[in-house]
């Protein structure tokens, strides 16, 4: 929750994940990033079948294994041990990214450092800091049908993260379809449209949101 300027309202990390889960549809193939996006898996509505893709080569990610079922050959893209499901399938990395780049994955939920009003996203490097690499993030934002970014609305020091133009090196240009922060939800219908505010977190006013946002959006 954003706690600067005395503002303690807004969604928790888990509530942001739950909000993202509302975008799921029955039969969707979904790739979830590390951090808040991973929590989305806990909020799949009952009765809905959603197949999770792990870019290291698996469709149908199961829950963490019990201690006696741990298998070093079975991990997710965050290198955590996982389990398989009856409908799971394994494949190599080239095939995995063929389905990502080829537009076969319906939805990805990713964390962000910055999102711009032109729907650019920066989430892989900070100049001057150790660069660990982009992993599969650039491929996901370029190829998946719908891109949802979930992030805190402001940095810990209060600096807005939904900005006119990203200051950090980009992960993708004009790729974000929906932005969910702890304060609000923004959407755009297509890649030529600006973001529209569609939802405020409980207790957050439009004025409070505007005071913490430098990006232009339709309200």
């Amino acid at each position: 929750m954003t706690k600067h300027d005395g503002l303690t309202k807004g969604w928790s990390r888990d509530q942001m994940a739950a909000r993202a889960a509302q975008e799921l549809q029955d039969g969707f193939y979904v790739n979830l990033g590390i951090g808040i996006p991973t929590l989305v898996a806990n909020h799949v509505p009952a009765g809905m079948t959603v197949t999770l893709q792990s870019e290291n080569g698996m469709l149908g990610i199961g829950p963490f294994p019990t201690e006696d079922a741990i298998d070093p050959d079975l991990i997710n893209a965050g290198k955590q041990t996982i389990s398989q499901l009856p409908h799971s399938a394994y494949f190599d990395s080239a095939t995995s990214f063929a389905m990502i780049r080829g537009g076969k994955i319906d939805l990805t939920v990713l964390g962000g450092m910055e999102v711009s009003e032109a729907a650019d996203i920066a989430n892989w490097m900070v100049p001057g800091k150790m660069i660990k690499g982009m992993g599969g993030a650039m491929d996901l934002v370029a190829g998946v049908k719908k891109i949802i970014v979930v992030m805190e609305h402001c940095a810990k020091d209060g600096t807005p993260k939904f900005v006119p133009a990203c200051t950090l090196p980009l992960t993708g240009r004009n790729v974000v379809d929906m932005l969910i922060t702890d304060l609000a939800v923004f959407k755009r219908p297509d890649h030529a449209a600006p973001f529209q505010l569609v939802e405020l977190a409980p207790g957050v006013t439009a004025e409070e949101l505007a005071a913490r946002t430098t990006a232009h959006y339709l309200s």
Binding site: E67, S93, G135
Partner: protein, 236 residues
């Protein structure tokens, strides 16, 4: 048929290693890394190596072992976290790093293995990755040119092989091992078990023997886990 099976990793790499060569290596984190072969490369003492591999191992595991001995000149990778020695060498400028998006890296290996020297992709358009690369518009959208990785040698870890080199992998340990295998001039594979022809289902071969020149059984394996995560109760 020419004999593909070698007694150990050292023998399997005999005559294949030289300084400043480009090696494509399978594995994702510590999952499915060719650890016997990497150990043998380290023991050979060759230097100035370039590795095309999704990750660089962790401290003293996988390629991390060859970083410690300063045998690696350059990494072509998508993600290199969890590795302090890597970080030190990278920040001091001793180690050159070319970051390639994960899917682009896999496709650069696959493409080279399929005889395709370059391809256009949407991944990385408008980012640092696009710098210096040809941009072409298809159907009104921009794509950048990425080049195939033609490696001198491919190092691969698999589950089982038959004596003719047909290979199967297990679960998510397949990862980069298939594209890496195909892009090497020579591919050396280590497996957990070598079986007779006919014992593997011909309909379920992940890497046909045409891609495999040399083979060893590296068992027994003590597979490492980077992040051991469990649940305590049954999920409903």
């Amino acid at each position: 048929m020419a004999q593909k099976i070698y007694p150990d990793a050292k023998a399997a790499l005999d005559g294949l290693l030289r300084n400043d060569m480009l090696i494509a290596c399978g594995g994702f984190g510590l999952c499915g890394i060719p650890e016997r072969l990497l150990d043998a490369v380290r023991d050979s003492g060759v230097t100035g190596l370039t590795f095309a591999s999704n990750n660089a191992g962790i401290d003293n595991e996988g390629i991390g072992k060859l970083l410690r001995t300063r045998q690696v000149k350059k990494m072509i990778a998508s993600y290199v976290g969890e590795n302090k020695e890597f970080e030190r060498q990278y920040l001091s400028g001793e180690l050159e790093v070319e970051f390639s998006p994960q899917g682009t890296l896999a496709e650069r290996m696959r493409a080279a293995g399929a005889g395709i020297p370059g391809f256009y992709t949407k991944t990385g358009v408008g980012t640092l990755v696009a710098e210096g690369k040809d941009v072409k518009v298809f159907g009104g959208e921009e794509y950048i040119l990425e080049e195939g990785i033609f490696a001198d040698l491919a190092l691969v870890k698999a589950w089982k092989a038959d004596t003719t080199g047909n290979v199967v992998f297990r679960k998510t340990a397949r990862n980069f091992n298939v594209p890496a295998a195909t892009c090497g001039k020579v591919c050396v594979v280590e497996v957990e078990e070598i079986v007779q022809p006919g014992e593997l289902d011909a309909d379920a071969i992940h890497l046909p023997g045409v891609y495999v020149q040399r083979l060893i059984c590296g068992a027994p394996y003590d597979k490492k886990i980077e992040f051991r995560t469990t649940r305590t109760t049954d999920v409903g």
